[in-house]
Symmetry: C2
Amino acid sequence: MQEPFVAPKSTEEFRHLFPPTGQQTPTEEPVLKPSISEGTTSSISTTSSVVSSNAGIDYVIVFKFPTNVTKGDETITSRPQLQSHVAASLTDITTRLTKVNLRFQVRPGKEDGTLLILVSSPVGPIKQEYRQERVRDFLLGVRVDEIEDTSTSTAVTDQAFNDLTDAERLRLVHEIITQPESDGGAGISVHVDEYVDSIMPLHDDKFNNAWLKSWSTKWLITDNDLLKIRDHFGEKIAYYFAFIQTYFIWLSVPAGLGLLVYLTHSNTLTIWYSLSMLIWAILFTEMWKRKEHELAIHWGVRNYSKHEKRRTEFKGEKMVKDHITGEETPYVSAWKLFGRRVASLPGVAVGAFLLSIIVGFVFLLQLFLHEYYNGPFRQFLHYTPTVGYVLLIPTMTGIYSKWVKILTDWEMHRTDASWEYSYTQKIFIANFLVGYLSLFITAWVYIPFGDHVIPYLVEFNVSHEHKTVDFLRLRAQLVYFVVTGQLVGFLTEMVVPYALKRIMPEAKKLSEKVTKKERKSSNTDLANIADAEEAKFMEKVYKEVALEEYNIYTDYVEMVIQFGYVSMFSTVWPLTSVCALINNWVEIRGDAIKICKYTRRPIPHRAESIGPWLGNMETLVWLSSITMGSFAYLFHPSTNIHSPYTPIFTLLAILLSEHLFVALRAGVRAGLSLVPSWSEWLIRKEEYKLKKVWLERMVGNYKQFVERSVDQENGNADLTDALSTKIWSHHLDKEVECNQGLQYIQNAFKTT
Amino acid sequence: MQEPFVAPKSTEEFRHLFPPTGQQTPTEEPVLKPSISEGTTSSISTTSSVVSSNAGIDYVIVFKFPTNVTKGDETITSRPQLQSHVAASLTDITTRLTKVNLRFQVRPGKEDGTLLILVSSPVGPIKQEYRQERVRDFLLGVRVDEIEDTSTSTAVTDQAFNDLTDAERLRLVHEIITQPESDGGAGISVHVDEYVDSIMPLHDDKFNNAWLKSWSTKWLITDNDLLKIRDHFGEKIAYYFAFIQTYFIWLSVPAGLGLLVYLTHSNTLTIWYSLSMLIWAILFTEMWKRKEHELAIHWGVRNYSKHEKRRTEFKGEKMVKDHITGEETPYVSAWKLFGRRVASLPGVAVGAFLLSIIVGFVFLLQLFLHEYYNGPFRQFLHYTPTVGYVLLIPTMTGIYSKWVKILTDWEMHRTDASWEYSYTQKIFIANFLVGYLSLFITAWVYIPFGDHVIPYLVEFNVSHEHKTVDFLRLRAQLVYFVVTGQLVGFLTEMVVPYALKRIMPEAKKLSEKVTKKERKSSNTDLANIADAEEAKFMEKVYKEVALEEYNIYTDYVEMVIQFGYVSMFSTVWPLTSVCALINNWVEIRGDAIKICKYTRRPIPHRAESIGPWLGNMETLVWLSSITMGSFAYLFHPSTNIHSPYTPIFTLLAILLSEHLFVALRAGVRAGLSLVPSWSEWLIRKEEYKLKKVWLERMVGNYKQFVERSVDQENGNADLTDALSTKIWSHHLDKEVECNQGLQYIQNAFKTT
């Protein structure tokens, strides 16, 4: 893409959705290109758009191998054996790359035992892949333009192909590299090839800089900006930004309302405010569903989720010949699958339980030190809980994440979508506990029953200060979480990587000085490369290989957990949404910087939605009805919180509130279903055009078909049996029949 | 269809779903026909299958006109004016029928002011309609076979066309008659043409008799029997029978369990029995969803519900030019639509409220007379409530139905599906109240609080007997409903119509004798028809015109309300499901008789499911969790029903039970999603075949496309810019690159 930030003309924005009447194929990419008819000049410019920057390099395959035998490995026992094994693996990869007509070069990596295979695809293989994808897309209903049949339009296809976006090109090359060999790919994958560490595309610095510059100077991100992200990074990343942006805009409503309530009410737990927040949360989730769907159409990924791609990791119990395709496919019985899913539940439960204990422990420590403890080192000990939140809990969450990843892999998911769904849910559980557990304990256990603790403290001779345990304690806890959480998030996401980026090279230089002598014969010496520009480019490659992969889960988790604070606890502290609003303005831009500077370029996957996160938000909205309902009763000034009947009435308040939630949601859904959505209109339009094209297309045969039947069969030849002849023989003249009818009417009017 | 009850060979059962490899088009109808290649003999036999029986008459349009001017009509004030208006209307209809090439004859009706337009379609128009439908079906994803493009296969199409089922033929003709003129139909409709009273097909007596004979002699209805119903009456009717049959089979589980509990437990409200019933109800609804989906595939109607056909009645506020099609289409703003939907809610509420009052009144009367009243005429007054249930309440429900029909029409629904959904929900509300309200009152109001009533009776000097108000009262009420309800249903559905059919002709004869003289000049005299066979046929036509239309709502309502008794109240009287089981065995056969003998033949509409009834059953399952949860607590022997805390604890029991229900349902759904369903497998198979055909089909162009690119562009011509040249110029030999890599590996093993 030559000018990534030129806005496409709005009328042409959906050109890709509508095939021009007749036989023409639409172009895919909305950014306008000079049309093919302008001749050779344009054809040069389009060619250069298909070739990405980075010297035509599409992917870097990081090939990492050990140079020493691992103990306990029984098949490879000596170094020469290992060497030949590594060599064979490399040869295997290069052979497969050659087979699919990809260009590649092998270069030494920065670290020992690392090779970088720079892969570049000529136009041919991409075209082939593109073609296959179009057939699949058409059949899934992702693309509605029909696939032209015969000779007509290679030129048109060429043009559509030349308008490929960066993301599409990269996705197609990724498909070629990773697709199984039986499907015509090279079948290279981290899971199949032992020494392949990762497959990564390279950043387009020109695009990145333009992007960061553009976003840092504007207040609001438009749909057009998102379209550019989609064209460059693919739909999955674009959906994240679309979500955070939509959420940011929606947040302005509770932020304004919250500010108002904060300034005017002393009791913020009023029913009207709670109800408004509940309705807002329901409306937001329902409207996001719409927006998501509209974007899917806009971005040409509608129905994409129907495409079930088998995970390369899915091995099954045994290989079975598929009844349908006749191919050998891994098979696993439904019972085993069911068993494993069920069996993994206790695994998740144990992990979640241990995590809860740690969260509970840190919380109790915090409570004890802040509220009761009055002994020595008080000033100093005050900070231990924060340390716990910043260091201990994230570490434990990290361990939990690894544990559930193992569990999810063990569950044997057939498709990526299924795996991702299962994994996301487990991740969500952990973050849910870390984010909200201590607040729930405070609200539902500590505040109602906390005063019973003090006698025990006296008994154990712990010096303490008695404070009244009340609603303000919950608010303090919430403020602590919202403010600290967002600050810590900002620090770990932005400041720490920045600092590391500054400090690490210095540290490396120091260590390199020490090891320089030993590393003389190392093959990473850039001085070997004569040309300065080439050396600079390789430096960039090494730098990007050293970066982490972009993890979209953490970003979604952060937003969804924040949504939970806003929807569940806004009534406790109305400024929650104001904080969230400010945080997110920074967050959007921070994430852009993160993707550009601190992580590798993500592989541009397609996506039709934000996936399971929507479901998680809906769960949070349901919980909001519970929290707000119970808080509104429990912390109402007139409620005697220590009465033995309070728990029962709290439960009743929850019961009422939950039903209210279900009713409200049904109402909102019914109401929204009546408002015609832009996306429905677009789909209808699509479908009409498609139908018209199809009908036009078969007109030749169609006419013949109908005419023939009119000739041969319109002549009542079908009325052959005895009764038919009797009934119809005197009634075949249509005019006579009509007159006969009129006669009957006349008679009827005469007689009565 | 010549031999309606020959079973199709099972392997060929799904032939219609899979296009034979290559260019062939599959046949639609599963019943095997001799293939087209057998020559002229077969072509005669297939022709006769396309022509339905009944002398080739597909539809009878009943044309009813008044012969006297209605008072208050301002446009038509005199009889001659009326006559010419009627005549114009008839001419208009016949003109339109002529335009679409349908045959018709006008015959006098049995009653005065009635004409019968017998419509028959030659093969030509049906073929044309068939063709259009196939394109639409293909685009909606209903049919997966592709539409052949060019000259290849008129013969194949002809064969597929000749294999049309009766239902399909009738549906196509109905489309031709009713479709708007702009879509190529005759645009005749009850709502558009003032004097068109109805459009009805004629029964195929041969099929009907074979059907009744076959079902009355077998115990279980198989999928194959259902397929025959679908082939003859269309999917909508077939779905009803499929539902009642599946439900019948599923009922055997609670019937067995109920019998067991009835014989062994004195307290039938145990938690385990309640839980089993809840799980059964959830499982049944979830499994029916699957079954429904499987049938949709089996019957070739999957995705059909996506087809949004505009209601002929939908007029909108104004005509607007459609942005997409450029046609004038009725338009109504979303606000108005929303407003009307909301405004109709109070209308329904008032109707439901009045109905509730009547139901409540009858119930109170029953209660008073059975439980307390001890005065004069006791024996006689005992039966008044039953009279109320059998006469008063059905009448009121009928009035309510008419009222909500007006409301639903007023709501301006754009599509039939939307109208039907809205109407069904309103009908369901009425039947819900009639069926369950008095049981709810008994359980939740009368039993806990009923003893407070007695003092008032004493005060008002009403003589009474005091009975203990307890759980058995609820059981008695339930038994009364289940048993009486089913008996009454059987009587009104089967015995009364039978009696009427016997008695009415006699009564008519009597009255005809009286009026014979006056009616001498009447145009209905069958004696005018010379031929006996023709006269007999016309007699059949008159008889069927005199019948009521088949109302599928009442049949569904009956089943769904019964499902409610089973799922909500089985724990009160475990024999409920036994009664239901017996009733349904009779019901299935009774409904078959009803359709064949007591109602007109239904127009064979398509359907993809049982529609909103599934949702209503899911609502009932949710309510089951409430009823069973509260009964289990409220009527437990250890519960003091008159304690002031009982209501609160009952609410808690409900809360708990509802959550249990939601969790169970989620669990069942998750579990079922792992079990591979037959329908998914079939869809996968379909899609694979389709993809293969498409790929094969475009091979010509495809090869050219790929080859061309390999020739021209595989030659690294794209690496033109300075950096690319530098990076790649020395790295284009793939073998050298591989060796280079091996060299690096060797070095790595040397140095470390």
